[in-house]
């Protein structure tokens, strides 16, 4: 599915957190959103996913305007999301987390007629766990997982919704180099296997330039540049914004 934003704008007080941003993420693409701290990256995701309301502009999925839709409706339209600080259900085991998410996705959240899990939830949960390499931890209580596994679980919960578009907010935040590599591996694997339109926010430029097909650069709420890694690397505005940080060096 194709994700597009047109003239998207959000102000907090007098300050524009997102200012007239127009961007498109083609169906099946793997894109990164980068920018210095406070560039409005998370706000950008919050606007797309309906967690906060835009002041202006539109969000479109496959050409359909979903700007006015609520969070639940956007989820149903096929957009999943993982968070900067992993969000999951800490008192449940990994399996229960996933089965609950599957049940919710299948509209069985209000089912009072049978015991949990509803039929079919368990195999699907196992599938998702396997996809993210969480199969071995299935019976562990989520709160006791390592930081990296918790981030994976967060993504797994999003995948339970069978999304066509997946937003990942800093999937490698707070991880050591080994964990990072594992995470990126998983993300790429999921992307290629599920044919997702995947957008992620990332600070590690190595990762960004290694795996992203397209990169969008946000700075103080404005879109600075968007294009292929090669184009971004050579963009003078981007170089100016990142001056002295050397992260763009190949």
């Amino acid at each position: 599915m194709k994700l597009e934003v047109r003239h998207l704008t959000k102000r907090f007080g007098g300050v524009a957190a997102i200012d007239d941003v127009t961007l498109a993420f083609p169906s099946g693409s793997l894109s990164a959103v980068i920018g210095p701290n406070g560039a409005g990256k998370s706000t950008f995701f919050n606007l797309i996913s309906g967690a906060i309301r835009a002041d202006g502009g539109h969000v479109l999925i496959d050409g359909e305007d979903i700007t006015a839709h609520g969070q639940a409706a956007i989820v149903r339209r096929g957009l999943g999301r993982a968070f900067q600080v992993a969000r999951f259900f800490p008192t449940m085991t990994v399996r229960e987390n996933l089965m609950a998410a599957v049940a919710a996705h299948r509209g069985q959240w209000g089912d009072l007629m049978r015991r949990f899990p509803p039929p079919g939830a368990s195999p699907r949960a196992r599938e998702i766990a396997a996809m993210l390499g969480l199969a071995d931890s299935s019976d562990r209580v989520a709160a006791t997982l390592s930081h990296g596994d918790q981030k994976l679980l967060d993504i797994a919960l999003a995948l339970a919704l069978e999304p066509k578009i997946l937003l990942l907010d800093e999937p490698t935040a707070g991880m050591g180099p080994e964990e990072r590599a594992r995470m990126i591996d998983r993300v790429q694997h999921v992307w290629s296997e599920q044919k997702l339109t995947l957008v992620f926010i990332e600070h590690d430029m190595d990762i960004v330039f290694r795996i992203a097909e397209r990169i969008a650069v946000l700075c103080y709420g404005r879109l600075l540049a968007a294009g292929t890694p090669a184009a971004i690397r050579g963009d003078p505005a981007v170089i100016a914004a990142y001056l002295g940080t050397e992260v763009l060096a190949p």
């Binding site: 989820v75 259900f89 919710a104 959240w109 015991r115 949990f116 919960l157 999003a158």
Partner: protein, 318 residues
């Protein structure tokens, strides 16, 4: 064996034991205890549907206990309805009231939800006190609940009341257990654990929240009906905020994370009260001291403590 079948089996055995007990040893005191326990335990367990299962802390849950008691006693005194219709109508009216109250309250989160439920209970209590023509004001609905024998069942007779209470206690607890173990119960747990995540899994939060609020109110009213049968009337004390406190304390004493915690807490609370009021006029002092020991010594409910202790033991031996 599926959990449903196993728990159903346990429920049936317990029910059989309770119903058979009077044949083995006839003790009116034991029967009274079970009658009072069933009222408090249903009420406390219903509160735990909110507090433990959904993470919604209510300070005003006693309002529905009182509502159940008053609605039932009024229906019995003022109308010619027989027992069962009056009982079902009471639960229906409570659900309606809870729908209204819940619709207003669930917009608020955490401590503000607790406060607004308490405030509404205070208002409800002051209406009971002021609306003397209907409720008898502070003197309550006196004169007893009229005897209406159906199918040989006379609930003013203690043995019959005991049997009804035992049945409703077991059935009520089983029903609540089923709710918490259903996919819906899991949804509540998701909301308790991480509301934002639950919302982003496409769950319209207000619906399960309102639903559990109404369900909890109905079970609280069930407890209230039993209380009104025990005192054969309804009194404002049954709707005042210390009654909400009773349920909170039963839940905290027994354990918030164990399904049977509120039942155990209710039994402990009633037993403590019964023993201490019998032996001393300064029962508050002794009871307060024991509760402090519990709270500071275990720092969680008794069942939660035992469970965690046990889990730790297993981990150590592994």
């Amino acid at each position: 064996m599926t959990p449903l079948a196993r728990e159903g089996g346990i429920a049936l055995i317990v029910l059989a034991l309770l119903l058979g007990a009077p044949a083995l040893f006839s003790s009116p005191a034991f029967e009274d205890f079970i009658i009072r326990l069933s009222a408090l335990a249903l009420f406390a367990s219903s509160l735990n549907l909110l507090v433990g299962a959904s993470g919604m802390i209510s300070f005003g849950h006693g309002m529905f206990y009182g509502f159940g008691a008053y609605a039932f006693a009024l229906l019995m005194q003022r109308t010619a309805l027989s027992l069962l219709p009056a009982f079902l109508l009471t639960l229906g009216l409570t659900a309606l009231a809870a729908l209204l109250v819940g619709g207003v309250c669930i917009r608020l989160k955490t401590i503000y939800f607790a406060f607004v439920t308490l405030a509404i209970q205070m208002l409800f209590y002051s209406v009971i006190i002021s609306w003397e023509s209907l409720t008898g004001g502070d003197q309550g609905l006196r004169g007893g609940i009229p005897r209406r024998v159906i199918a040989g069942l006379d609930i003013n007779h203690q043995r019959h009341l005991y049997q009804v209470c035992a049945l409703l206690l077991v059935v009520g607890l089983f029903a609540m257990r089923h709710i918490t173990a259903s996919p819906f119960g899991m949804t509540l747990r998701m909301i308790r654990d991480n509301e934002a995540r639950a919302a982003f899994l496409g769950i319209p939060l207000w619906r399960p929240k309102l639903a559990v609020f109404v369900l909890a109110a109905v079970f609280a009213a069930l407890g209230g009906v039993l209380a009104s049968l025990f005192v054969s009337g309804a009194y404002p004390e049954l709707a005042d905020w210390p009654i909400s406190g009773q349920a909170i304390f039963a839940v905290m004493l027994g354990g918030i994370e164990s399904f049977l915690g509120p039942l155990a807490g209710s039994a402990i609370l009633l037993a403590l009260n019964d023993i201490f009021t019998r032996i001393t006029e300064y029962h508050g002092l002794v009871q307060g001291g024991v509760i402090l020991l519990f709270a500071l010594g275990l720092r969680r409910g008794v069942l939660d403590f035992l469970r965690r202790d046990r889990a730790r033991g297993e981990a150590a031996s592994r």
